[in-house]
Symmetry: C2
Subunit: 337 residues, 2 copies
């Protein structure tokens, strides 16, 4: 019953289909790709046989012809995946989940390794590259890309002419402060990361400015420290000593917020009744584990990934975008405010 399947070695090639259908490989190709000069009867027969044989065209042969590999590289310094995973998921959506493959490369923060990975991606003829990092500091642009489209996601390029997609951190900080102001809070403190981190500096500056516009000051002054719970606990202890009647704390990260809330609880302050707390990052595992769950700023990193991928596709299709695209943040309100 079963036909001899034409030399059963290896995967099915177009010539196998052609042989089984009694036509040439050219006709099979035209039938499968909807070209016009094939009769309806032949087309149907070819389609049926191709389906029965589970024929899958060899992507590499096509790529060799077209010069497009239908794959992009994702070069990231974020080994933990905190920022690279959302970028990747967003990009995957935009790239048609399978249409264009994402090749993941972790540089482990080693420039030499990054150069090697880039070399490998070029060798592999990727159609474009998304560069990602866990810092919002601008990073040195890739060198030696030889005209290949590159989009920087989350961590922008130092060259403003490059195509970068970043989070709107000032907007995020403003959303948080305005939310607290709307809730009637007047004595708002700010605990954040290291002063030298761009993210910390920007969020602090924006917070200070927005409060001044409301005729207020950062209660207790901006507290720079580390992105850790430990620092959150310590900072809130200091704050409660220096300005005991604060009624809100805006934190530079969810981890800090966690420490702050622990500190407040241990000091006998209730959240949100006595003190409201707002975080930054919307790191679900942190924000939903606090007591009560944490109101926080979400930078929409998946959207950044999606837009980066869209811009990359545009650049691949010869309509490159230059400059920086800013993605608005969003406030996720839970019970801590």
């Amino acid at each position: 019953m079963a036909p001899p399947e034409a030399g059963s070695t290896g995967p099915i090639k177009i010539s196998d289909v052609a042989l089984a259908a009694g036509v040439s490989a050219a006709t099979v190709s035209k039938a499968l790709n909807g070209r016009s000069d094939v009769s309806a009867a032949t087309r149907e027969r070819v389609l049926a046989i191709a389906a029965r044989l589970q024929f899958r065209p060899n992507a590499m042969a096509g790529s060799l012809r077209t010069g497009r590999s239908f794959s992009v590289g994702l070069l990231t310094t974020d080994s933990f995946g905190r920022f690279s995973i959302p970028v990747m998921l967003g990009a995957e959506d935009a790239l048609g989940s399978g249409e264009v493959a994402i090749i993941f490369c972790d540089t482990r923060d080693d420039p030499e390794r990054e150069a090697r990975q880039l070399e490998a991606l070029l060798h592999r003829q990727v159609d474009g590259i998304i560069v990602n990092g866990r810092r919002t500091e601008a990073r040195p642009p890739l060198i030696g890309t030889r005209g290949l489209p590159v989009v920087y996601a989350f961590s922008p390029s130092q060259d403003p002419a490059d195509c970068s997609v970043i989070a709107d951190e000032p907007n995020g900080a403003r959303l948080a402060v305005e939310h607290l102001l709307t809730g009637g809070r007047k004595r708002i403190a700010h605990v954040t990361g290291p002063r030298r981190h761009r993210s910390a500096a920007i969020r602090a500056t924006t917070t200070t400015a927005r409060l001044r516009r409301a005729g207020l000051r950062v209660d207790g002054g901006v507290r720079f420290g580390a992105w850790t719970e430990e620092w959150g606990r310590q900072a809130v202890a200091d704050l409660l000593r220096d300005s005991p009647d604060l009624d809100a704390v805006f934190c530079g990260s969810d981890q800090i917020a966690r420490g702050v809330m622990d500190g407040l609880r241990e000091a006998g302050r209730s959240v949100p009744d006595d003190v409201a707390v707002v975080g930054f990052d919307n790191w679900e595992v942190m924000a939903t584990a606090t007591r009560p769950p944490l109101t926080t700023v979400d930078m929409n990193i998946d959207v950044i990934g999606r837009i980066a991928a869209q811009l990359l596709l545009g650049a691949i299709d010869r309509s490159p975008t230059s400059g920086t695209t800013v993605v608005p943040a969003r406030l996720v309100v839970r019970q801590s405010s």
Copy 2:
């Protein structure tokens, strides 16, 4: 001075190098690949010119010839990256960081999507596939892989003949219990995840068995619940009521351990003086943020990824491995025990 670089359109091909060197493409190929029938003088000249032109052989042409794409798919249901990222990093190491590319595919837990992703990977002629999930429950094997090498990492296949690499959870649980016993603890409780989760069941069974071997019982009985801090807090409150003189809690996850430690502190018990706590997962961000830092079991997921990749490479080289490989866990001792 600069030679005309032979029709400056697009990337450098081997024929461009051949033209510039005044030899044939065949000779260039042999020179670059260290074949023997090229004179030393010619080889050096070709090498110099290829370097000057920054020639990079087209990987797709080679793949078309050899039938190998030098890429593998990583098909995962773990969108959060908690388990897929370490697997990916380990695999990247084993795959020579760039030699073999990793194509990341997230199935979003949707079987239909998984089938599409698989189809795309096959179409792309990947040399093999690593399947990953966030559960340790056995999962249905991939169907329609047509002889392509597949290795299941962390989340094994239901078919015991498939090649799976999993964590040694019983070993992990034993390490934790023995560590507590060595520390002189006698009244050891166990708080873990949902009873229907394989991981929870295995860890509980192993814990019970190991304690019995020491002539002890699980203090207060195994407490099944959820993988959350909330559950950890609640469970420890119950435990302190039911068996107030417990001196250790082994937790099924680091998140539970966090809740347990918070509960203990609020009940006035000190860790580790009054009660020792051991977690499971070594999720750094959790384990290092507790007070004091958490002793916990590390399943060596990166090693699982590395071994999975090695087995996959073996299978690609026609020496397939069948059956399940178990990777030992390791105890990371911090200050909570």
